[in-house]
């Protein structure tokens, strides 16, 4: 959140230093405002009772349950040299076409794709599950979670942000940028994106190490590995955008299998392993930890299905979509002739006629099947929640899951 604000200030062309100071001020205010657990508790139950849970409300109510915003960019981050450095360098990129700016902006918007929500989920499941035999000193009493769990939630956000930032590099192929100035912008943007991502990754290593739990370090490192591996799955265009794999002769189950493989690696593994890890920190046994993994994985998949649906259910038909999103995958399984249009994107996905693909999808079963897919994963996540005792955190989690299915 704080990064978002500092970036937005920078993007508006404001002075980086004043931007940082503004943030500091803002954070302080925010902390005060959010710190009234008694009031929020009754609020949360009210939401649970209301008929139509709204996404943003579900998230912001949930944030209050676990104390204060989960953003990893607390004061100590804002005041670090490196972040100030990045902010300064980002300014130089304003006006160029480098996608790092887009990534920065996407961090600002409070959409369903909000990274912060991931840390929040980790904290909520921590609170919902409670903790065993833990030293009083290590508990953040007001929020009902351990400090180590809060650190893990930060790490989750950092790993995810780092991955998104690294994904936002540009592949510079010879001859694509004949103009030297544009070429320089792209090279410089790549440098900043690479370093910022590495910075987040390096810090998540250090934060994890400080938790002194080697099972957890191994678990979270394997999530980083999965994210990296996800970028190599399937067919790719010259900018590494994914294209659906060629279906086998027997297409039965093709869509779910390929979609799940891709999205478990790129999303499910991280959230699943974070939820598993936080229960590990709380001293729960392996069985409960497994449940945590299941919860995070299914929630992430439900989330992804929900994101994939977005461009196909609203009135706005111009929202860009991935060629590997669930509706397209389901359509390929139903009728692979759509691949003749999709394969025009082998060089660059921009060569695909998206309006045409969109129209084809709308005539097929893809959207309906995706809704089902989302529902299945939501239900599986809900099932895990029922293992835990009734609590405000559990209610908040089910509100978030419910809000996802709310079109």
């Amino acid at each position: 959140m704080a990064l978002n604000k500092s970036l937005s200030v920078v993007l508006r062309g404001g002075n980086a230093i004043s931007g940082l100071l503004c943030n500091k001020y803002h954070l302080l205010i925010k902390d005060k405002r959010d710190f009234c657990p008694g009031a929020t508790r009754s609020f949360a139950t009210k939401v649970a009772a209301s008929q139509k849970p709204d996404w943003n409300r579900a998230v912001s109510e949930a944030e209050k349950i676990v104390g204060y915003p989960t953003s990893f960019l607390s004061l100590r981050w804002l005041l670090s040299d490196e972040i100030a450095n990045v902010a300064l360098h980002l300014r130089k990129l304003v006006g160029s076409n480098h996608p790092l700016l887009k990534t920065a902006k996407s961090l600002i918007y409070n959409g369903r794709n909000n990274m912060q929500a991931w840390g929040l989920i980790v904290l909520l499941i921590s609170k919902a599950a409670g903790h065993l035999n833990v030293d009083d000193m290590e508990e953040d009493k007001a929020a009902g979670v351990l400090y180590s769990q809060r650190a893990l939630a930060e790490v989750t956000e950092m790993i995810r942000t780092s991955h998104v930032v690294h994904k936002g590099l540009v592949n510079i192929h010879p001859g694509v940028y004949p103009e030297a100035s544009e070429m320089n912008d792209m090279t410089f943007g790549n440098k900043i994106a690479l370093l910022s991502g590495d910075y987040l990754l390096g810090n998540s290593c250090a934060e994890l190490a400080a938790l002194r739990n080697q099972d957890l370090v191994e678990l979270m490192s394997s999530a980083v590995r999965d994210l990296a591996e996800a970028e190599f799955i399937g067919r790719r265009d010259s900018q590494n955008n994914p294209l659906p794999p060629i279906p086998p002769l027997d297409r039965n189950g093709y869509a779910v299998k390929e979609w799940t493989l891709q999205n478990v690696l790129s999303a499910g593994a991280l959230l699943g392993k974070s939820c598993q890890g936080t229960l590990k920190l709380a001293g729960h046994n392996n069985e409960v930890q497994e449940q945590g993994y299941k919860f995070g994985k299914h929630l992430a998949l439900a989330w992804q299905a929900c994101l994939d649906l977005g461009p196909f259910i609203g009135k706005d038909h111009s929202i860009p979509f991935s060629l590997c999103c669930a509706p397209v995958m389901f359509h390929i399984e139903h009728d692979p002739t759509i691949l003749t249009e999709i394969d025009k994107g082998l060089e660059s996905v921009h060569n695909v006629d998206y309006a045409k693909v969109h129209d084809i999808i709308m005539t097929g079963p893809g959207v309906e099947l995706t809704k089902q897919l989302q529902k299945e994963h939501s239900q599986k996540a809900m099932e895990v929640l029922n293992v835990f005792e009734e609590s405000d955190a559990r209610t908040a989690l089910s509100n978030i899951i419910a809000a996802m299915g709310d079109y």
């Binding site: 040299d81 490196e82 450095n85 360098h89 780092s162 991955h163 690294h166 994904k167 590099l169 540009v170 592949n171 510079i172 192929h173 090279t187 790549n190 440098k191 690479l194 370093l195 991502g197 590495d198 910075y199 990754l201 390096g202 810090n203 290593c205 250090a206 994890l208 190490a209 400080a210 002194r212 080697q214 099972d215 370090v217 191994e218 490192s221 394997s222 980083v224 590995r225 994210l227 990296a228 591996e229 970028e231 190599f232 799955i233 010259s238 900018q239 590494n240």
Partner: protein, 408 residues
């Protein structure tokens, strides 16, 4: 005049290098050694060691004299004729499968062929394997010091991890620097796209940290994770430069520590901790690695100005072309202040690189860089002397020598 000027600068550099901790550290080390000897109660050995230390001190003090005359180039302080140990041969058995094992560890963590190829690209066995070698050498020297003869499996893992972290950072460097050649073959960014290469770097780091975690040692994990943050911070430091000469040199040295020495120092510390070393012994290992690492990078920066493309496996004056002012340039601008504006504009204007290259060669910059590197090697050798005598301990002395005298 040049002599006076350079010794003045060297004195300053010395101060900067030490950051005020060195003197204190020296005291600490000597007391540790005394304590050790008392603990082990090996009077005979102690005497031998004392003699050694004494002769060493004499050499050092003789060097002090030489240094003040600033004619270090003619002396070879690190070369001690009785040591004919080749550390690579000494550790042949330990090192021969390191690259195979790394490739194995990486390939079993993914099913994607592309990722396997990119991730294992630099682990072809053609590298110097300096980091694993130093790590294992220290491990064995420390083990011997602690009166055990074998190399622990976990220590060998650390050697592999050090090489993996190093390669991950090389791969990311390649994306940033756009270099064409590395280790005598096309660099990864020439063969694969930036995004894939970046992800492959992340992948190697992730697998390395999984291996770290499997050692199940909290302090080792903390030590090695410090390396990763240091590397990134060093990379950030390389983006900017400082205004004044003093700041610039301190900036350069800190950057060098973070980018190069931290990995060697912390992996040395990690293997020592795995051997059950106490804080003082771990610190000896750390400082040995730090000094060797700093010397190594200083020599690297020096060679960038003198060796041919063929010998280095990468083009010369590469640093200047990247806009980086390394030790030789920083020393040279003492004599040729006209280098200052060029440093500030990162040698961007046409002719800057050539002019700077020429001025460095005209100045004492290269000799002064070598002198500074030698100082670190002497310090590394001194630290190695504090360990119990063994072939591996001798190997440590040879390494500090090798670093200075290497041609590539």
């Amino acid at each position: 005049m040049a002599c006076v000027g350079s010794s003045r600068l060297c004195a300053r550099v010395e101060k900067l290098c030490q950051f005020g901790q060195f003197a204190q550290f020296r005291r600490k080390v000597s007391t540790t050694c005394v304590k050790f000897r008392q603990e082990f109660q090996q009077p005979a050995k102690t005497v031998v060691q004392h003699c050694k230390t004494d002769s060493r001190t004499r050499i050092c003090s003789r060097l002090e004299g030489v240094r003040s005359m600033s004619s270090m180039q003619t002396q070879q302080p690190g070369s001690l004729p009785e040591y004919q140990v080749d550390p690579y041969r000494l550790l042949e058995d330990d090192l021969k499968d390191v690259y195979d094992d790394i490739r194995q560890a990486l390939t079993e963590n993914t099913t994607q062929e592309d990722l396997k190829t990119i991730a294992t690209y630099y682990f072809d066995g053609q590298g110097k394997a300096l980091r694993p070698m130093v790590a294992i050498l220290i491990a064995r020297a420390i083990n011997y010091h602690k009166e055990r003869s074998d190399l622990l499996a976990s220590q060998r893992q650390v050697a592999m991890i050090a090489e993996m972290i190093h390669s991950a950072s090389l791969i990311h460097d390649d994306v940033i620097d756009q270099s064409d050649f590395r280790r005598g073959k096309p660099s990864v960014n020439v063969l694969w796209s930036q995004k894939k290469v970046t992800m492959a770097g992340d992948f190697i780091l992730a697998v390395a940290s999984m291996m770290i975690a499997r050692l199940r040692n909290d302090d080792v994990t903390l030590t090695l994770s410090q390396v990763v943050t240091d590397l990134v911070q060093g990379e950030f430091m390389q983006l900017g430069s400082k205004e004044t000469e003093n700041e610039r040199f301190a900036h350069y040295l800190t950057k060098t520590y973070r980018k190069t020495a931290s990995l060697i120092a912390n992996s040395a510390k990690a293997v020592a901790m795995l051997a059950g070393a106490d804080d003082h012994l771990a610190e000896v290992a750390f400082q040995y690695g730090r000094n060797v690492g700093l010397a190594f990078q200083l020599v690297d920066d020096l060679l960038d100005f003198v060796s041919s493309s063929a010998a280095m496996g990468k083009p010369t004056a590469a640093d200047l072309k990247l806009g980086l002012a390394t030790a030789p340039v920083l020393f040279a601008c003492e004599r040729y202040p006209e280098l200052n504006p060029m440093i500030m504009r990162r040698f961007q204007e046409p002719g800057d690189v050539e002019k700077a290259f020429e001025l460095v060669h005209k100045s004492q910059g290269l000799e002064q860089t070598r002198f500074l590197a030698k100082k670190h090697c002497v310090e590394a050798a001194r630290l190695a002397q504090s360990l119990a005598e063994s072939p591996y301990q001798k190997g440590l002395l040879v390494v500090s020598d090798l670093v200075i005298n290497r041609m590539k």
